[in-house]
C-alpha cells in the first residue's frame, strides 16, 4: 500500500516516460524507484493536479479568507495546494486515499544487479500479487524499449501456467537465448578457436515474437475474453476500447 504522507496525500507525476528522468534529480538519493499505475485507475481515487501558488499573492490571500470563513472547505482543498513552492514542471497529481500497490503495472529502478533492475522486496511482491514488469530507470532505456521487438513466453501456455507469462525486450531476450560458444575454424596452416554468440535452441523455443506492445495487449485481452472474462469489467481501466476487435 502506498500510504498517505504526513500531509495527507500520495503524489504521482504524469510526466511521459521520455521525461521521467527529471524526477530523479529532486532527490540526491542514489537508489530510487518509480512505480507506474494506470492513470485511469488513479483517476478513480480522486486524481487531482496541484496548485502551486508561490507567485500569486492574490490567490493565497483568497485562500486565507476561505481558511477563516470555511475551514472545512479549505481542508478539502489544502491537500492539493502548495503555497510556498513552484514545481509545476514535475506535473504532479495527488490522491488523498492510500493506493494499493497491487495495482502497480511497472516498476523502474536506478540500480541494477547483473544487468537486471533491483527492486526492493520484488520477490515478496511477486509472491503476493504476481510478477510485475521491471526496467532500469534511464531515459535511453524507457525510449529504447519502444523501438524494440518484444518477445513473450507463448500465449498458448497461459492456460497451463499464467503466472509464468513474461515479456522481454529484444536486448534482454538476446541475453536469455544466446550464449557464447567456442568453435573451431580450420585454417590453411592451423586451427583457430573462435568464440561465437550462438542460439540456445532450447531457450529460444520458449519464446514467441517479435511483437509490438499493441500485439501483446491484444493477445492478452483476447485470452482473457476467451477464458470467459468480461473484458469491460476485468480491463475497466484500459484506454483502447475495441482492443479485441481484430483477433478472434
Amino acid at each position: 500500500m502506498l500510504k498517505l504522507n504526513p500531509r495527507g496525500y500520495v503524489s504521482f507525476t504524469e510526466l511521459p516516460i521520455g521525461e521521467l528522468d527529471r524526477m530523479k534529480f529532486r532527490k540526491h538519493a542514489a537508489a530510487q524507484v518509480a512505480i507506474g499505475f494506470p492513470r485511469r485507475y488513479i483517476e478513480t481515487l480522486g486524481l487531482t493536479p496541484v496548485w502551486y501558488l508561490k507567485h500569486d499573492t492574490t490567490a493565497t490571500n483568497a485562500l486565507a479568507r476561505l481558511r477563516t470563513a470555511d475551514p472545512s472547505a479549505y481542508d478539502v482543498l489544502a491537500s492539493f495546494i502548495d503555497e510556498a513552492d513552484d514545481v509545476s514542471s514535475f506535473q504532479e497529481v495527488r490522491t488523498t486515499t492510500a493506493v494499493p500497490i497491487a495495482e502497480a503495472v511497472w516498476m523502474l529502478s536506478t540500480t541494477r544487479v547483473d544487468g537486471y533492475p533491483l527492486i526492493p522486496d520484488a520477490a515478496e511482491f511477486a509472491a503476493r500479487y504476481g510478477r510485475i514488469p521491471t526496467s532500469f530507470w534511464h531515459r535511453s532505456h524507457q525510449l529504447g524499449i519502444l523501438d524494440e521487438g518484444q518477445f513473450t513466453t507463448p500465449v498458448s501456455n497461459l492456460a497451463a501456467a499464467p503466472a509464468e507469462f513474461r515479456i522481454f525486450g529484444e536486448h534482454c531476450w538476446k541475453r536469455e537465448v544466446r550464449q557464447r560458444s567456442e568453435l573451431t575454424i580450420s585454417l590453411p596452416v592451423h586451427d583457430a578457436y573462435v568464440v561465437f554468440e550462438v542460439a540456445d535452441f532450447a531457450k529460444h523455443r520458449q519464446f514467441e515474437g517479435p511483437w509490438r506492445f499493441i500485439d501483446i495487449a491484444q493477445m492478452l485481452a483476447q485470452y482473457l475474453s476467451n477464458s470467459g472474462e468480461d473484458i469491460d469489467s476485468v480491463l475497466s481501466y484500459r484506454v483502447i476500447k475495441n482492443i479485441t476487435s481484430r483477433l478472434k
Partner: protein, 59 residues
Amino acid sequence: MLVRYFYFSEALAIYELYYRPIVSTSTEAQEELTDPGRLDRPPTWVPLVFHCTSADQIG
C-alpha cells in the same frame, strides 16, 4: 497478473505513439495538418502515472 501485463503492454503501445508525428498515426490529423513539414506530436495525455521515491522508502 495477466491483467497487469495487459495494462503494461497497452500503456507502452500508447507511449509508442508519443514520439511519432501525429500525422503518422491519426487519420484526423492527416486531414487537418496538410502543410508540408508539419510534424506535431500527439497531446501529452499519459496512460501511466508514476509514484517516485527513494528505494529505502519501499519494501
